[in-house]
């Protein structure tokens, strides 16, 4: 497992359900009945405090003044503009990183070349970079004082404090998501099936669409939903490059910041509730995909009765 890991890799999921572990020794001991309960209570308590409570507060604050106020928050044109901009940035970075992720995983899994492990490390690089620094590097390149600043200014082109900068920063921070899901999976699968397809007369594209893609579809989807969640929610990097021009360069997270700092709490949480909902859908899809992959594995590797006992 690479330490640059942002999320748990789908491929590393162990068979949770099949390795059901009972408490190791079921002896008569008052502790043994007490300890698990105590530990579980502690764990649930910690998660309730740190995870569930923040989730609840978002929706409760958003609806504090009733449905009317909640929906009124979305009538503000700058709110709409923020949603639109978030969708644009996501809509551009997602396909780009998807194509890149598949291409990179393909190149890494199916070919041998020098420096492969360096390449894998480089792909993970954006995860190691703080979001603020991810934004900063684009300011340094395209800002007024940056490398291309003067050149861009002459031609009246603006990247920083404009939509292109936001898109670039979003691409950067979501860069590794699809690739890092696919690389271990495709490496594990090897290229035997593709070679078989080619030997049977398939073209390269046919072997990709009929053989490769079906094998990696769940991992692709997994990478895409994680990529999407990060793209829609990115705050730090986008904040650096956006310039916070209301109604022009504000994405949803940036708009939330402005509303919150203006003490417009209901509106801020109303916008936040949209992103929280997106986050919950992401979690649900992620859990579903992990379950789905598990199912696929279990049907191919059904243990026999003899192995169970």
């Amino acid at each position: 497992m690479s330490p640059l890991q942002e999320t748990q890799s789908l491929n590393n999921q162990n068979n949770l359900e099949t390795s059901v572990l009972k408490p190791t020794a079921k002896y008569i001991d008052w502790l043994s009945s007490l300890v698990p309960g105590l530990l579980i209570t502690l764990a649930i308590g910690f998660m309730a405090l740190f995870l569930v409570l923040p989730l609840l507060v978002i929706f409760i604050e958003a609806f504090k003044l009733g449905l009317g106020e909640y929906f009124k928050s979305f009538q503000d044109p700058s709110a709409w503009h923020a949603v639109k901009l978030t969708l644009i940035a996501t809509g551009i970075s997602l396909p780009l990183n998807l194509v890149f992720g598949i291409a990179a995983a393909w190149a890494i899994a199916k070919f041998e070349f020098v420096g492969k492990s360096v390449l894998i490390t480089l792909i993970d690089l954006p995860f190691a970079v703080s979001p603020i620094i991810s934004g900063l590097i684009f300011v340094l390149m395209f800002g007024l004082q940056g490398w291309f600043g003067a050149w861009l200014a002459e031609r009246d082109l603006q990247i920083i404090f404009a939509v292109p900068g936001i898109v670039l920063a979003t691409i950067f921070v979501t860069f590794p998501f699809v690739a890092r899901e696919l690389i271990p999976l495709m490496q594990e699968q090897g290229s035997d099936e593709e070679q078989a397809a080619i030997s049977l007369g398939a073209t390269g594209w046919q072997s990709f669409f009929y053989i490769t893609l079906p094998n990696i579809k769940w991992a692709v989807l997994y990478g895409v939903i994680l990529c999407n969640a990060r793209a829609m929610g990115e705050f730090g990097a986008v904040s650096v490059v956006s310039g916070h021009i209301r109604g022009k360069t504000n994405t949803v997270p940036l708009h939330i910041e402005i509303l919150y700092n203006e003490y417009n709490v209901v509106a801020a949480f109303a916008m936040a509730s949209l992103l929280a909902l997106m986050g919950l859908v992401t979690l649900a899809l992620k859990t579903f995909l992990e379950w789905k992959v598990q199912q696929d594995r279990n049907t191919t590797l059904e243990p026999t009765l003899a192995e169970v006992h």
Partner: protein, 264 residues
């Protein structure tokens, strides 16, 4: 062809912009650079960032272990939901977590109102920074530990029990040493992530220079004051530190995996 495209895209999006950061720093003399990165306000931000990240990662090491242990070892209603929820800090945009945590821990918040009479000021204080950094680091520890706990040999624990070890002894002498590499890795990942965190912290920290100002925010502040040189210098320091941490995690994992392979 795919390889060429991969390299081109990687170079354009990642490598050139990142190298720009270092090249910009070259414009500074070493003395200038040193002044930028060691001014009192900057040093105070390091202290807060590193200190709070460390405490947050340590809290996560304890509770992350507990959560991972419960998820792997016990079957209880709501376990699957709990397992899914662990990833919430990944899925929830940082700005959203930031305002949510601030609302809960501020003076009139759900929890803040009970802390206030005790003299504990959670939001707008270093404690708030720790809370936010604990929130975002939790999944790293849990997800790194889960497979390690799953791989624990049940028989080793049975052997310890048959040799007369009690629960605590079995835990301290047999289980903990075995999962320690994973625990350390999870801790380091949570720590590294916390160092660079911005969104969830800025709302709850209060951003008082020298007191509750984290390094990421200081970079932005410098940028807004058009102090590009200062921002860049601090960014380079933070970047080098997080690379160093991740490199040591890699070494750590390599070290332990070599050890493990010898066993297999």
């Amino acid at each position: 062809m795919t390889l060429g495209y991969t390299l081109l895209y990687l170079t354009l999006i990642v490598l050139i912009p990142l190298s720009g950061l270092f090249i910009q720093t070259m414009n500074l003399s070493f003395a200038e650079f040193w002044n930028h990165v060691t001014s009192p306000r900057v040093v105070a931000s390091y202290r807060l960032t590193f200190g709070a990240s460390f405490i947050g990662a340590a809290i996560n090491a304890v509770f992350g272990f507990l959560i991972a242990w419960c998820l792997v070892r016990y079957r209880f209603p709501g376990r699957r939901l709990m397992d899914a929820l662990v990833d919430l800090p990944f899925a929830l945009p940082t700005a959203v977590s930031g305002i949510a945590l601030t609302t809960i821990f501020s003076k009139h918040g759900w929890i803040g109102q009970y802390l206030e009479p005790l003299g504990i000021k959670a939001a707008y204080s270093p404690i708030g920074v720790v809370i936010a950094l604990t929130f975002i680091g939790l999944p790293f520890v849990v997800r790194t530990l889960q497979p390690a706990i799953e791989e624990l040999e049940k028989e080793a624990e049975e052997a310890a029990a048959s040799l007369g070890a009690n629960r605590l002894q079995t835990f301290l002498r047999v289980i903990l040493p075995t999962v320690f590499p994973a625990l350390l890795t999870g801790f380091a990942l949570a720590f590294a992530r916390a160092l660079g965190e911005y969104g969830s912290v800025v709302f709850i920290s209060g951003n008082m220079p020298g007191r509750t100002e984290i390094t990421s925010l200081l970079i932005i502040t410098k940028l807004e004051q058009y102090d590009f040189a200062g921002a860049t210098a601090i960014a380079v320091v933070m970047l080098v530190v997080s690379f160093a941490i991740l490199l040591s995690i890699n070494l750590l994992q390599w070290w332990f995996s070599v050890g493990r392979r010898r066993v297999a």
